[in-house]
């Protein structure tokens, strides 16, 4: 019983993590990267790009179930 419950929970969490990963990816591709291409020296955008890239990697690993 506990095992089944745990498995359902995991499936749900993995789905949520995957959705967040896609949202972060879209934000990077459609906003941050165009921003930085136009203004490569913008320190705020560089910081956000760096942080969100590592967030994306962490979420990708979880969504894949590793």
């Amino acid at each position: 019983m506990t095992t089944i419950e745990g498995a359902d929970w995991t499936t749900y969490e993995r789905g949520c993590v995957r959705e967040e990963m896609l949202r972060i990816t879209r934000l990077l591709d459609t906003v941050l990267i165009p921003h930085l291409k136009g203004h490569p020296d913008d320190e705020w955008a560089q910081l956000v790009l760096g942080q969100l890239t590592s967030v994306k990697t962490a979420l990708e690993l979880l969504a894949r179930g590793e």
């Binding site: 459609t30 921003h35 291409k37 962490a58």
Partner: protein, 134 residues
Amino acid sequence: MGRVPANVAGDLVRVALMEARPAGLTTRQLVTATELSQYQVQSGLRFVREVLAAENLTPLTWTRRDGYQLSTEPADWIAYERACVRTELTRIARLLSSTVIPHAQRLPDDEWVQLVLGQLTGVKSALGLLVRGA
């Protein structure tokens, strides 16, 4: 208008947004300006966001006050980015408190959920740092 390909809708939306500069346009105003349906405007907005924004190096932003905007001001992009990061922080914090933390407490030996807890806690800190405007 009948069937309109996404790239055509996207171009109509882009032109309307550029003409409105520096103001923005709501979905309703875009429908009026382009004579497209609401659905076609949505598809056009998606095209602007995913294709034209990258080509023209102008991100499509949205705010409750101004609607959709193709601003040329980096300050507007930064405000939008900060708002998006804040939304993500809220979503991750909610996922943690409503699901992951209760799960991890119930099944302390479940390695996977402990990993998720650790990683998402780190994600939350990273987003919190950005929102606070470090």
